[in-house]
Symmetry: C2
Subunit: 292 residues, 2 copies
């Protein structure tokens, strides 16, 4: 049995804390957060047993979960590895390249496992933490050949307890696929929100029309800049490429519409419908697992 | 009491049929659909009492709901008005300009009420019909000064029974706002699906990453080309303008990311977050109404 320190008690760290309370291997869950309000809410909600500063937490816990925004993780990871002995350290950030590079020369690199659980909501902070957030979704493990086998094994046990399906990928592939599936979804939602807000100065017009599909497509535009600004900057090369592809396709829509090219427009929509099968497969897997 | 003909027994027509069965003013619901499979499913599911061809339906029913894709409505509306006597005719299409223009010179123009219920799902066909689809959402009535008062009154009673909040707008404003809130949401989803499908030839990568917000943002990309191609073509001028605004904002994201302009990127995301309050207000209104 071991104590776990969660650095950054927000949506992800807090949701992990809720589930891990019931894990037989876990003794205590210690919260570390510069934001005192987060700590106070996390205690009040019973997410954490105690709060400590980072050094105390390293002395008390053998498992360290780094769940801060990725710019903060980039600063903290080397500090944590410098203090680490037999500790197992893993992060949960949405970009992996810069973090893995920051750890690469560290003599304790083997104690670190780079992971990205593909789960979340549009909300943030400890009050957004929910049980079963991770259940039956995927977690990406990156470059585990650089991690000690016992560290990878322990982190795998934790994610298995959370109900996640572990997928191995190298860091470069992860950041590319994350840009194309997760990060662009957020940019698309932010852009939709801004387009509508710029044009529709009157809230009542948006409210009147919101039932026409707007509400779900714009959901991710609630996501916080503290989390997303550093993600988009750390994965900038992939993201600039995916924005270019996205604009090319928007221009294909625009051209087919302005030239009244019905066949071409029909074809674009028909092609995009192919996503249905994949998204339904994902949804069924999650729903099925939650029934059982 | 009156008989109602529903022309086009799909998601919208079928969902109206389910709810209107319990409306005290309604005797029979007659389905009219060129697609024999739709008629057969609609009968099997009990959505309609009988099926007829259009002429028979005009002879049997005094209320006509035109719920076909908007290109079909553009052909049928003049035919229906030519046959109309005391009938009340309304359509439920997502664009209004072309339809209202097609009706404008007809001597029976007054019998027609142009409406757009802002409700739907990403599915289509009679098997997608669900109860309470319209409850506590908005319906836009356009140019009711051109409709006979008794026709507008009867259509208002139907929508009030469905639980909808009636909003009046002129046709031009409707088509503009629909482009900026509803239609662009669909284009944004179609484009996201195509961007991902073009890049990610391997389904497993999309499945692995789908938990990161992709699934909700891409939901509307399931929407059918039969419905959406004619909507986008009929509202082409507004839609081309909104795509241009959308691309301008995407370029603002791209520039702030490629130039590592953290303040600018932070500002864009913070501005887009303002949509949260409006979307939450919409969601609360719908949820509250469904609880009561």
């Amino acid at each position: 049995m071991y104590n776990i320190a969660i650095i950054g008690v927000g949506l992800i760290g807090g949701s992990m804390a809720i589930d891990l309370k019931d894990f037989q291997n876990v003794k205590k869950i210690i919260g570390v957060d510069k934001n005192e309000e987060h700590i106070s809410v996390a205690k009040k909600l019973g997410l954490i047993d105690e709060s400590m500063d980072l050094t105390q937490a390293m002395n008390t816990c053998s498992v360290i979960i780094l769940a801060t925004p990725v710019d903060v993780s980039l600063v903290l990871l080397p500090e944590i590895l410098n203090m680490a002995q037999k500790h197992v350290v893993f992060d949960v950030g949405s970009t992996k390249g810069k973090l893995v590079m920051a750890a690469s020369k560290n003599p304790r690199r083997g104690r670190y496992v780079a992971t990205h659980p593909m789960a979340g909501t549009e909300y943030s902070g400890p009050e957004a933490a929910i049980p079963n957030l991770f259940k039956s979704k995927s977690v990406i493990f990156c470059d585990t050949d650089k991690s000690d086998a016992d560290a990878t094994k322990l982190v795998s046990e934790i994610y298995s307890f959370l109900g996640m399906n572990i997928i191995h990928m190298n860091t470069k592939s992860h950041d590319l696929h994350a840009a194309y599936v997760s990060h662009i979804s957020h940019i698309s939602s932010f852009t939709l929100a801004l387009t509508v807000l710029e044009k529709e100065k009157q809230e009542k017009n948006i409210l009147a029309m919101a039932g026409g599909g707007f509400d779900s497509t714009v959901r991710l535009a609630k996501s916080s800049p503290a989390m997303w600004t550093p993600i988009l900057l750390q994965n900038s090369e992939n993201i600039v490429a995916v924005i270019d592809s996205y604009i090319d396709i928007l221009n294909a829509f625009k051209n087919s519409i302005s030239h009244k090219n019905e066949d071409e427009l029909n074809n674009l929509i028909t092609q995009s419908n192919k996503i249905t099968r994949i998204v339904d497969k994902f949804k069924n897997k999650v729903e099925l697992a939650n029934l059982s």
